[in-house]
């Protein structure tokens, strides 16, 4: 069998959890490989979710979800500062309308306090409208959690990956796990579509597919995809609300929220329903209507539906309402499951990595020959600032200095989101290079705006092909088989006539 690479630890899955673990482990002298089946990181649940860093009052204090969320919340300021990821601690309000709702809010508050949150407040009456002028005037109560925040989940994911790469982690994209190779009841390798990776430890962070990976070594749990649909309004509408607004939560989810995003859009969603396929990301007429209706209950003056600029769906890696699964396998040595990481998974990621590190320490001592965790001396904690023109619109003189150094930063290629060619070239040349239109979009926002890539798409595609020195026909939306263009002009008609 062809040995592709040798590693100490292989992480499967390039979502928020896999990349956060990769970055954490890159502090140590280990050979780390992260295998991701798609053409970029952040391609599953991590790219399509609410982008909320929850305060931590929802989940039961006896669960990992409850504990790890609260433990992680305060870590986001430094993490996002280090990695230059947009994060805003705007606080959240769970909104109630009736006496019954109020008792739910009190329950939530008490649960939050058990989780260690001591800054929760119940707000009533006019004070509520002072905080949110556009809130439904029939709303009477709210649970206010000042420590909740908003984040761009895929940008955090990508930055974690880049920082990991800078610190020596190898990320293999379009690399799918076929099997796990074991000897003497111990992991010795991961067989992928690209070849065999020899390894001592494997961490299963495969998100929706974590059950299928675990099954290969006999671990038995099931991940059920629970879909949520979202809708996004243009930037001028983000100012409609000041906080993350939730309805009273149900058993299945926290309900359809209304929130500004870190980039100033208005986001509404998600609904919540079971689907069979783990790649079913289709939006539905029913979902579109329900999300809009749900959001309108909180904000009656929601922008008209025809002002939507995007809608999308995400899948929660649900374990039928059970807790996160973060533990070493009992079936085989050198195998750790980090699975069922649905909400508040993003919010819990920093504490999840700490927990995984503790488990890894034990696992490493348990395998033969042993592995040890020793710090590297040259760990790079931060990423460089990556200036975006859109952030400089009120300080254009400062952008002038950037253009003087590199004139590519003076050429605007995306009019809706105000993105320059310099930013595009940078995204293609980063430690984890973007190679498809969607990968570029997640990094620099070309195509995120009103025209949805209608104007910038052809420009981005052309520059991408030039930079990668490949044909425009090879440029894809999101990896193999999603190429944008079918043929050169005149060729198709020649084919047809011959």
């Amino acid at each position: 069998m062809k040995v592709l690479m040798k590693a100490d630890v292989v992480i499967v899955g390039g979502g928020i959890v896999g990349t956060a673990i990769a970055r954490e482990l890159s502090r140590y002298r280990l050979r780390i490989i992260l295998a991701e089946k798609e053409d970029d990181v952040a391609m599953g649940t991590s790219k399509a979710n609410s982008g909320i860093i929850h305060a931590g009052y929802n989940a039961d204090f006896k669960t990992l979800k409850g504990r790890l969320n609260v433990k992680s919340n305060s870590k986001f300021d430094k993490l996002c500062q280090d990695l230059k990821v947009p994060f805003k601690r705007i606080g959240s309000l769970v909104v109630g309308f009736t006496r019954e709702d109020l008792s739910k809010l009190i329950e939530l508050k008490e649960n939050g306090e058990k989780n260690g949150l001591n800054n929760l407040k119940i707000i009533t009456g006019d004070k509520l409208l002072d905080l949110e002028a556009n809130l439904n005037h029939e709303a009477k109560y709210a649970l206010y959690a000042p420590s909740a925040g908003i984040i761009s989940p895929y940008e955090l994911n990508i930055s974690l990956a880049e920082n990991a790469v800078i610190n020596g982690v190898k990320i293999l994209l379009e690399t799918k796990v076929v099997d796990i190779v074991q000897r003497d009841n111990q992991v010795i390798g991961v067989l992928t579509n690209k070849g065999l990776i020899e390894t001592r430890v494997m961490i299963n962070a495969a998100g929706l597919y974590a059950d299928e990976i675990a099954e290969k070594i006999g671990d038995d749990f099931k991940i059920k995809p629970l879909k949520g649909e979202y809708q996004l309004f243009d930037k001028q509408w983000g100012r409609l609300v000041n906080h993350v607004l939730f309805p009273i939560p149900s058993k299945l989810s926290k309900g359809i929220l209304v929130t500004p995003t870190v980039h100033g859009n208005l986001l509404i969603g998600p609904d919540s329903y079971w689907v069979k396929e783990k790649d079913n990301l289709a939006t539905t007429k029913k979902g579109i209507d329900e999300v809009y209706k749900g959001a309108k209950r909180l904000i009656p003056d929601l922008p008209r539906k025809d002002l939507l600029i995007n809608s999308f769906a995400g899948l929660r890696a649900n374990t039928r309402g059970k807790d996160f699964i973060i533990r070493a396998s009992k079936k085989i040595k050198g195998f750790i499951n980090v699975a069922g990481i649905q909400s508040p998974g993003l919010s819990s990621a920093p504490a999840i990595t700490e927990m995984v590190l503790d488990i890894l320490r034990e696992v490493m001592g348990d395998i033969y020959p042993k592995l040890e965790l020793n710090y590297r001396d040259n760990f790079v904690e931060t990423l460089d600032e990556q200036p975006r023109f859109a952030d400089y619109l009120n300080k254009l003189e400062e952008w002038q200095e950037i253009v003087e150094k590199d004139s590519d930063y003076g050429e605007v290629i995306c009019r809706c989101e105000k993105v320059t060619k310099g930013e595009l070239l940078r995204a293609i040349r980063r430690p984890l290079p973007a190679r498809s239109l969607d990968a570029i979009k997640r990094r620099i926002r070309t195509g995120m705006g009103r025209c949805q890539g209608g104007f910038c798409g052809p420009k981005v595609l052309k520059i991408l092909a030039e930079e990668l020195k490949i044909s425009s026909l090879e440029i894809s939306k999101k990896g193999e088989n999603s190429e944008i263009l079918k043929s050169k002009t005149k060729e198709m008609i020649k084919e047809k006539n011959s």
């Binding site: 790649d279 002002l307 995007n310 254009l396 939306k477 263009l485 198709m492």
Partner: protein, 424 residues
Amino acid sequence: MKLKCDLTIIGGGPAGLAAALEAKKNGVENILLLERDKYLGGILPQCIHNGFGLQYFKEELTGPEYADKFISQIEKHKIDVKTETMVIKITSGKQVLALNRDDGLLNINTKAIVLAMGCRERTREAIAIPGSRPAGIFSAGTAQRYINVEGYIPGREVVILGSGDIGMIMARRMTLEGAKVKAVLEIMPFSTGLIRNKVQCLDDFNIPLKFNHTITNIKGKKRVEKITIGRVDKNMKVIPGTEEEIRCDTILFSVGLIPENELTTEVGIKLDSVTRGAIVNENRETEMEGIFACGNVLQVHDLADFVTEEGEIAGRAVGEYLKGKRKYRTQSIKIIPGDNIAYVVPHHIDYIVPDRKKIKLFMRVKKPAERVRISFKDNKGKKLASYKRKIVTPGEMISLFLPESVLTEQLKSVTISVKKENKE
């Protein structure tokens, strides 16, 4: 870099080009034309089909030929042009902030501004078509750019949603390139584009046009694989049982154009909720004095020729504005859309112009009608003028004259209505 000029024109498409040339003819000296793309002409360079210039030049031209006629005049008159220059902001004090590679930040102090930014296409998302999000979904104009400018065909088996002009033109273009256009779907019971385009682009190529149809689902993980379409009732709701699947790898959306008025609203200029363009007087001057708007940023036109005409109105008006000898009416005349009129541009008439004979009004109807009379009435219901039309449809803009002779000092408003001829 700081600059001063008399007139800054934002957008180098047919509206901006015409405004620049006409302003020059009317004595405006120091003109700066800013264009965000690499070349002048706006969307015209990618419109390689013919049909341009029939009204304005009385000859049939392609888009690039039509654009060239103006671009060469711009060069001849040595009007300053900056391409690949993106305007970031305009202020009510008539400062224009822009960015390009060579100058970096441009800070332009100008006496007048003409907004000529054109429009963008409405997307699949804005009409909330459900389904997956694979490759193969384009707006018709984007597909046009890929084929005519970049030299690549974005699909082999195509369905087009929307019978707007670009959609129909692209149905023909893709067919000529060897792609199979399986259907053009239109949710309305009538075509939203020009009748001549339906004949020349669809009928002549046997491409089926299905009225009262829309897409109800898009399938495909990586690339579009198939779509479900369905017939809609009067309320645009899909009738259960009418759904059918069509296999295709590409969907083009031609579902309307939206004026690109972000700069306009940011500076505080009010928009008409129907046109989504600025509210203007007969000079195409917005409610902010010295800021004018013309072309598709003001109202989406059917023909480039009309865009040119409107650019010229704005260009001339800038000349008069800068000379400072305009005479206001004691009261402005409001132009009000009445029965079956969706909108009228201009929205009001503000000036007294001694040698003016008539004012051209542009309008669209809400729904098609045959054998109608379009009448102009004053605020007391007195008929000022009326015109017969055999057929009116929302897809064809109507232009009619308001005679100067009826614009008395007391006139407060003119209401325009469309009625069946026999009822009058």
